[in-house]
């Protein structure tokens, strides 16, 4: 069951969302959504396609502004931040894009070095060592001089992860990190998420559909649908929550609260049989 959310978060909460309301093209994506993401944990955000999981990540990073409500990251109200303050905040956030989003003009080494070169005046030798350190952590030190088009999907994801952690962020957001990966690459990414969380104490938020992977890596799961959190809890027990949403989502049922049919006009009328029914 969805537990009541306290009005003010304590220190154990890194991301606090209150009354988040977003309407896009006339469709309500979030309807007064409340959520607390705990510090130092791996939190998974799940839900049917099109429920706004990636949009939620964009609200956390300030890429999108809500129509109403608050999104606080480490106490800062993101929608109210100036551009400079927003960029400063983002230096402490790593973001793993669904398609890795590596800069195609640069090789692996330069991709990982890019944030360091833009935001620091570190000597070249230090940049080199830091980049190699991060590439070693994701197992790709040997691929430092490969171009992005020479990498497999799993390797590109790991390079993007090395780039996301190059500043040792306090928060990493993973947007569909397991999509399109073979079992080996998927397990490698799973292991990396868990290791980074445990060794560096990074708060991780991942948007994913892979139920088994989420069970292995997440400490807490939010299930969002219809613009609200419809269930949350331990990933191993949330499926027994008993609500129709969890039953359909974790049971993989084709029909339920999320309808099989996209809303449409009357079927008989569309086929021209409306008169025959009389």
């Amino acid at each position: 069951m969805t537990e009541p959310v306290p009005a003010t978060p304590d220190d154990s909460t890194l991301v606090c969302i209150r009354g988040l309301t977003t309407v896009l093209n006339g469709k309500t994506i979030f309807d007064a959504l409340d959520m607390d993401i705990p510090r130092g944990k791996v939190t998974a955000i799940m839900g049917p396609s099109g429920t706004g999981k990636t949009t939620l990540l964009k609200h956390i990073t300030g890429q999108m502004r809500p129509d109403a409500g608050e999104v606080r990251v480490d106490g800062r109200n993101v929608p109210g931040l100036s551009r400079e303050a927003l960029y400063k905040m983002r230096e402490g956030i790593g973001y793993l894009f669904q398609n890795s989003a590596l800069l195609t003009d640069f090789d692996v080494f330069e991709n990982v070095a890019f944030p360091l070169r833009q935001h620091t005046a570190l000597p070249e030798v230090l940049i080199r060592n830091l980049v190699l350190l991060k590439l070693q952590a994701v197992g790709l030190r040997g691929a430092a001089r490969l171009m992005p088009n020479e990498l497999s999907g799993g390797m590109a994801r790991r390079v993007a992860l090395a780039r996301a952690i190059v500043f040792d962020p306090q928060l990493i957001l993973y947007d569909e990190p397991f999509v399109g990966l073979d079992p080996v690459a998927l397990n490698q990414v799973l292991k990396l998420i868990r290791t980074l969380n445990q060794t560096l104490g990074i708060t991780s938020v991942l948007v994913a559909h892979e139920i088994e992977a989420v069970r292995q890596v997440a400490d807490h799961v939010f299930l969002i649908a219809n613009g609200k959190v419809v269930a949350q809890g331990d990933p191993k027990t949330i499926a027994q929550d008993g609500s129709p949403w969890t039953r359909q989502f974790f049971g993989g049922e084709a029909d339920g609260p999320v309808p099989f049919q996209y809303p449409a006009d009357d079927y008989a009328q569309a086929l021209g049989f409306a008169g025959a029914a009389k």
């Binding site: 983002r90 894009f97 989003a101 800069l103 944030p115 833009q118 780039r163």
Partner: protein
């Protein structure tokens, strides 16, 4: 940064909205110039791509434009014995109109399309969003260096185009058709004025065309829908909009500068 999509069905309304958004985008670009100074290496790299890499097509086209212009003029002027003036007419036509206009049209086709396609693909593959997430301003890092590179490259390319066109005219007129070398150059230097023809014609016009083409190319890249079809349409729009803008602006500039 993404500009607002034009609303409404009326093509005039849509066009006006596009022009308005493009104007706002220009203000954003200009405001980002001080921030882009820290990416000076990126500006130089873009200058290489849009300037140096366009040099071959500009020089070859300039040569042939000069050659064909001289051929046509010689044929017309020979009917009333005025062939000695053909070198002068080639120079005036190239400096005042053909140089800046043809260079700009070629620049839009060669460099403008590549700028739009590159930025459009960067958007489609989330590279622009990734920069935003790494706290790197994509307007200052991606858009402004390309805009400045186009602005700097266009006058230089136009000078090369004009030089090659005059050389082509000389090649056909003097070497092939037998116009006297001294007459060719003396008539040209007697008529061509530095302020009217070189500063107003070559430099000012090409600077204005460089700004317009670069602005359109960067704007189309940044506002393209992040799909392969969107990038294709944006690339086409860059050529179409740039060509119309160049010719319209040429008329306006000529009317004011004459």
């Amino acid at each position: 940064m993404s500009a607002r999509a034009p609303q409404g069905n009326n093509i005039v309304t849509q066009s006006l909205a596009q022009i308005g958004n493009c104007g706002l985008f220009l203000l954003t670009l200009l405001a980002a110039i001080p921030r882009s100074f820290r990416y000076i290496r990126e500006t130089i790299r873009q200058l290489w791509f849009v300037g140096a890499m366009s040099l071959t097509i500009i020089m070859v086209c300039g040569l042939f434009v000069g050659m064909v212009l001289m051929l046509q003029l010689y044929s017309v002027l020979s009917t009333f014995g005025g062939t000695s003036a053909s070198g002068m007419v080639v120079a005036v036509a190239v400096y005042r109109e053909l140089g800046p206009v043809v260079t700009a049209l070629l620049f839009a086709g060669r460099a403008g399309t590549s700028i739009t396609a590159e930025i459009g693909l960067m958007r489609a593959t989330d590279q622009i969003d990734a920069m935003e997430m790494m706290a790197v301003d994509p307007i200052a890092y991606v858009a402004t260096p390309r805009f400045l590179a186009g602005l700097i490259a266009m006058p230089l390319l136009c000078i090369m185009f004009c030089a090659m066109a005059v050389f082509g005219g000389h090649l056909v007129g003097v070497t092939w058709l037998g116009i006297d070398n001294g007459t060719f150059w003396s008539n040209m230097t007697a008529v061509v004025e530095v302020h009217t023809d070189i500063v107003n014609g070559v430099l000012l016009k090409s600077l204005a065309f460089g700004a317009v083409v670069s602005l359109i190319a960067v704007y189309q890249g940044f506002t393209t829908p992040p799909t392969s079809e969107g990038v294709a349409y944006a690339t086409t729009r860059t050529v179409v909009a740039s060509s119309i803008a160049i010719l319209a602006l040429d008329f306006v500039l000529t009317a004011f500068l004459m």
